[in-house]
Symmetry: C2
Subunit: 314 residues, 2 copies
Amino acid sequence: MKNRICALFGIEKPIIQAGMIWCSGWELASAVSQAGGLGIIGAGSMYPDILRSHIKKCKKALGDLPFAVNVPMLYPQIEDLMEIIVEEKVPIVFTSAGNPKTWTAHLKDKGIKVVHVVSSLKFALKAEAAGVDAVVAEGFEAGGHNGRDETTSLVLWPMVANALQIPMIAAGGIASGQQIMAAFSLGAEAVQIGSRFVASAESSAHLNFKEAVVAAKEGDTILTLKELAPVRLIKNPFYAKLQEAYADGAQAEELKLVLGRARAKKGMFEGDLEEGELEIGQVSGMIDNIKPAALIFDELWKEFQEVKSKAIDW
Amino acid sequence: MKNRICALFGIEKPIIQAGMIWCSGWELASAVSQAGGLGIIGAGSMYPDILRSHIKKCKKALGDLPFAVNVPMLYPQIEDLMEIIVEEKVPIVFTSAGNPKTWTAHLKDKGIKVVHVVSSLKFALKAEAAGVDAVVAEGFEAGGHNGRDETTSLVLWPMVANALQIPMIAAGGIASGQQIMAAFSLGAEAVQIGSRFVASAESSAHLNFKEAVVAAKEGDTILTLKELAPVRLIKNPFYAKLQEAYADGAQAEELKLVLGRARAKKGMFEGDLEEGELEIGQVSGMIDNIKPAALIFDELWKEFQEVKSKAIDW
């Protein structure tokens, strides 16, 4: 295999489905791995026993096919999660939102492949130094939590890919074969796709949220809450409340009060489009339908091949 | 010619140098047109008689080769500029920052090709309806004045290219052959490059500013002054003053006072890196040297061809 990411994970095609809170359980992860890519269970919104159950179901559905678990390192019971991951022999872990030094060596000692998600060249270099097998470089256009430098994928990807020895997986703003082609043009050896798979049949997102993703047009998302942790979300009535707080000069403590607890669950899992937090990427403006993940996967791959075949004429 | 932009402008290679205030006079524009692309005189920072002199020098240097003038439509004496452009038989005009309906028909009646710069699909469709020959679609990562939707190039370009009948020129975040390849992957038929040409020998930017562009690393620019007109600039002591004003809860009127007058000239043309406004794109983090424009042009084209030749293996 020429592609280092396909070789590393033992997958056919270098398309990875992002681990996302409330959206990516075992159904979505196993559908993407079965299609020939890498599916990821998003552990950030799961209690430890729920994660174990999703891993078991994924293993049962997939047999020998690989899958991964995404672990945001801010997770309060992270030791429990990591113990389950090792016990259940999860082959690949994607870590995010924390220091890659903390868990990389431990996981690699157990034979687990480790990938760390970054939003800047600086953190990419730190991840490489910490011994990870690959990095995901995610640009400003991505949904959910995001970097402080606001570097877009077009600028971030070549900076990271050209500076690192280990392979880079491109994320943020990818929902079409054209965008996959752009990612490879910029040095990526694989792509990680989130928003497009939120609007899939197998995603565990509430149907209301999937439909809100389909309805979103350009300019309907924004990166906000920069005083706490920057997050990209759909501008809905909850966001309007945040805007009122900003207009009143709210600082971090007051913003925390407005945010409250469990807003993301309320929006994305329970389908409350008014009061919930609806995390999604800018590329939602290009997503027009809800389809089975395998169909999305095959269309993305076909589009990528079509664009590639035209490149000779540019 | 297969490329519609090359055919439209009568140029050899689909690389356009952006018209930029204080940086792109006749020396830069003629160097880029001589290299086989399209050079643009940025009229936004020129009094009418200065513009006329730059046009005359460009025509003298170029003979029959094409060039363009960029006109921000907020320019106070815009009628005078447009009269000079028609009198001097400028073959191509790029309009920006205003309604494309206002001048397109008038210019086209005089046989002038018209291109309008947009930052959203919505404005791209309006420009097409106004009868322009092509649009420049410019993403969030671009330097200088920028759109309110904050849509990045990776998301904006395919939305615009796929929706319009007229050709799209991609701008914002392009300073390498990899990024040109990405632009073409996303439907562009040409690229417009700003920041990279600021750091050229022929750019009229002050050497201090050129060196600041070379010194800039990732995260060193930011889109700010969103309450007035969003602008991307280098975080320097002037920006720190803006930050202080924001921290004190400053609204639009107070921000205008902090901004004052002629900050852009002070920074980019007079080289005051402390008090001046230093408008540049995120991609400045990838620019490491100051070179003759023709050399930059040839390297970009060579890199693009090299990346293209590798695509078959992706």
